[in-house]
């Protein structure tokens, strides 16, 4: 090869093809997908919690994509919900699909575990509830104080004695409260139609309509 123009031109062309296939076409195909009727937008607190999730790299161990093959199917058997579709992520910027299931998929964790207490205890010390867990403890999301310091009406985390700090109460920081709000919001129990199914249904409908006209 003697021609650098051919080299660079060919290189840019091959990348352009890949970009078309993996960005441009999905962009056009997905840009008008509407959100499912049952999907509520995140509240401000849940969005803040989502940022805590991102900041602490939860994606390193947790997916948010019950897939249609492999582990996703097993999860469906475990009762963790249907496979996700593009529309489910309408409000997600960015999506947190993830690539590791070192921990369980969290797409429907709010449905599985609706208890605020459970989430706080588990974040403070995962091994309080799941002895074999390898999830890191997140004590930096909590403050500890002696009982007299706790303001009246303040929620304290009901940590089992074996894991509680000696003589101290555990109080969530705002980050912990936001994160738990986000985790509880992760429930996708509504029904969705696959976009492709929707297209097929539309095609069938117009075909039927055409046939009715001919018969008229």
């Amino acid at each position: 090869m003697e021609n650098e123009i051919k080299l660079v031109g060919g290189a840019v062309l091959t990348l352009a093809l890949a970009t078309a296939a993996m960005i441009v076409v999905p962009f056009m195909q997905l840009k008008d997908v509407p959100p499912p009727a049952g999907l509520a937008p995140y509240t401000e607190q849940e969005l803040r919690g989502r940022q805590v999730y991102i900041a602490n790299g939860c994606i390193a161990c947790h997916t948010q994509q019950p897939s249609t093959i492999g582990a996703g199917r097993a999860d469906a058997v475990r009762g963790w919900g249907r496979p996700s579709v593009a529309a489910d992520y309408f409000h997600d910027r960015p999506t947190l699909l993830g690539t590791m299931r070192t921990g369980p998929d969290l797409f429907n964790v709010g449905d599985r575990i609706p208890s605020e207490d459970w989430h706080h205890v588990h974040l403070y010390q995962p091994r309080a509830y799941v002895p074999d867990s390898t999830m890191p403890a997140y004590p930096f999301l909590y403050e500890t104080m002696v009982a007299v310091e706790v303001p009246p009406g303040q929620y304290t985390v009901p940590i089992p004695d074996a894991h509680a700090p000696r003589g101290r109460k555990v109080v969530p920081t705002r980050d912990a409260e936001d994160l738990v709000a986000y985790l509880k919001a992760m429930t996708r129990q509504y029904d969705v139609a696959e976009p492709l199914d929707a297209a097929a249904a539309k095609a069938l409908a117009s075909e039927l309509r055409g046939r009715t006209r001919q018969e008229d």
Binding site: M1, E2, E4, L7, V8, G10, A11, V12, T14, L15, L17, A18, T19, A21, M22, I23, V25, P26, F27, L30, K31, V52, I54, A55, N56, G57, I59, A60, C61, Q65, S67, I69, G70, A71, R73, A74, D75, P83, S84, A86, Y89, F90, R93, P94, T95, L97, G98, M100, R101, R127, D132, S133, T134, M135, P136, A137, Y138, P139, F140, L196
Partner: protein, 541 residues
């Protein structure tokens, strides 16, 4: 129209186009044509073993033409000294940072209550710091250092604007420091491989261009007629990376699941269209160079290059098999992943045939040992990658530690080992020193090979067991965690050995710099001693 038929037609058409294009570039497709392959040698260098890492000195040929060629090459090497030194030094520092962060992350996976009081030390942040320190520090800076040194040799034109490259390296590193400090403090975009936000990433774009542009200009100023195979890979990669990085970071453009496909377009292409081609370029240079024998089949490398360029760009969606993205995209990526076997086999067969009959040199040459190990791991990583893009295998291995092991075969076994080998060859030529303690090179090699072998074997096994537990809906999830624990401990031991090897390497690199500095001072002293008599000095110049 039926989308499957459309996709199939597009695929067939583009394959035909690709092969027609390769045909247009061939010269004597089935000849053993080595005039192009010989371009990196002066005639007398063919058949001569060369490894500066072992202290082999430069050849002094008989005839004037070759002497001039080698003198130019030595001058070109020296002209790259400062930018290469800067890039290598940064790379080695990031290697140490990345190793420390990686080792700590690994330990935390089986010691989950280790160092949990500080937010920045938590597993999720440490792992991200590890990834970014090696993906934006060690690998690109080291590879760019090798490229800065290689291109003047390959194009026979002196490096221009070295100061621009140095300034670019500093800007890049400022961006990386800002990015990693940001990650430690929770500033993260939430996209894998793109965790550093675009407003810091701009520094990578600007710094990278300042490093890349002088090299792109060198293409036009070359004095060789033929572009050697390494130049194809380097030239293309220098254009691919900025496009990838800039498109991925356009603020406000990407949304929802499209962002996920973009994420894996980027995540897989930064491997396939940046680290991989530059590392392949290095193998194509160093392997023939050390053994003194031109690449066996030049046309095979042409096929390998263009099929890699074509197929690799579209494989990324195999990370989203079964995910919420359009099914046709997944199928496309699986098909292209399988097609990647063509460039991989073209490369592997070619290197094997070139090396054939010279395997004994592996005992002798430090550089060759690292390079050949790296080339073999490229084959392993790629064949493995193609295989577990298949739905049936993907269902088992994806989402498990197996994928992490696979990533390390590619980024460590292949890219990093080639980089080590290249640095062991280049540093003596650039700094005009010999490695002070060659025994340390062997120690480095065996430490990282032992650590790497333990890492890969144990983690892959753990990953498969984890995958089997995950696949069985009747098994409680926690079983998939429990089963990995001993294997994760083993991985930490492997990672510890690798880190130890890196410390050996860094110390040796530092010793070489000290030796070069002593040498330089001795030269200065000698020159000032001669100064009273300027006439012979100017004659020598």
């Amino acid at each position: 129209m039926n989308p499957t038929a459309l996709l199939l037609a597009t695929f067939v058409l583009s394959i035909v186009g690709l092969f027609a294009f390769i045909w247009s570039l061939r010269s004597g497709l089935f000849d053993r044509e080595s005039s192009g392959a010989g371009v990196i040698f002066a005639p007398e260098e063919i058949g001569r073993y060369d490894d500066p890492a072992e202290g082999v000195t430069r050849l002094v040929p008989d005839d004037a033409r070759q002497q001039a060629e080698l003198r130019d090459r030595a001058a070109a090497d020296r002209a790259t000294a400062v930018p290469v030194f800067v890039l290598f030094t940064f790379a080695v520092v990031w290697l140490l940072v990345g190793s420390a962060a990686g080792l700590l992350s690994s330990l935390k996976l089986h010691l989950p209550d280790l160092l949990v009081e500080q937010a920045w030390l938590t597993f999720g942040r440490m792992r991200t710091i590890h990834l970014n320190a090696v993906a934006y520090g060690w690998a690109p800076l080291g590879l760019l250092g090798l490229v800065v040194w290689l291109l003047p040799r390959l194009l026979r034109t002196p490096l221009r604007y070295p100061r621009l490259i140095i300034a670019g390296a500093f800007i890049w590193n400022a961006g990386l420091v800002a990015g990693l400090v940001g990650l430690a403090n929770g500033l993260n975009t939430g996209m894998e491989w793109l965790e550093i936000p675009w407003y810091i990433g701009t520094l990578f774009a600007v710094g990278g261009m300042m490093i890349g542009l002088p090299m792109a200009f060198m293409l036009r100023r070359r004095t060789v007629h033929h572009l050697y195979v390494s130049v194809w890979y380097i030239g293309a990669a220098l254009f691919w990376f900025p496009i990838l990085y800039i498109v991925a970071n356009i603020p406000g453009l990407h949304f929802g699941v499209e962002q996920a496909t973009m994420n894996w377009w980027y995540g897989h292409n930064v491997l396939g269209l940046f680290y991989t081609p530059i590392s392949i370029a290095c193998v194509y240079y160093f392997l023939p160079k050390v053994i003194g024998r031109p690449v066996q089949s030049y046309n095979l490398s042409l096929l390998g290059f263009w099929t890699l360029a074509f197929f690799y760009g579209q494989v990324g969606a195999h990370h989203l098999i079964g995910g919420p993205i359009p099914e046709w995209l997944v199928t496309l990526s699986i098909v292209q992943s399988m097609m990647m076997l063509i460039p991989v086999l073209a490369f592997s067969v070619n290197q094997h045939l070139t090396l054939k009959g010279h395997f004994a040199l592996l005992k002798r040459s430090h550089t060759l040992r690292f390079i050949v190990f790296g080339a073999m791991m490229y084959t392993v990583a790629s064949v493995q990658g193609s295989a577990h893009a298949l739905r049936s295998l993907n269902a088992l291995t994806h989402f498990t530690h197996f994928t992490v092991a696979h990533a390390h075969i590619g980024m460590y076994g292949f890219v990093s080992m080639v980089l080590f080998g290249g640095m062991y060859f280049a540093v003596p030529r650039v700094l005009d020193v010999t490695w002070p303690k060659p025994a340390l090179i062997s120690l480095h090699f065996w430490l990282v090979v032992a650590g790497f072998a333990a890492y890969i074997v144990l983690l892959s096994t753990g990953g498969v067991l984890q995958g089997l537990a995950l696949l069985d809906g009747a098994t409680p999830f926690i079983e998939s965690v429990r089963v990995t624990k001993p294997w994760l401990l083993g991985r930490s031991i492997g990672g510890g050995l690798m880190t130890l090897g890196h410390i050996v390497f860094a110390v040796h690199f530092y010793l070489a710099l000290k030796a070069a500095e002593r040498q330089r001072q001795a030269d200065v002293a000698a020159t000032s001693h001669v100064q009273p008599d300027p006439a012979p000095l100017s004659a020598a110049n």
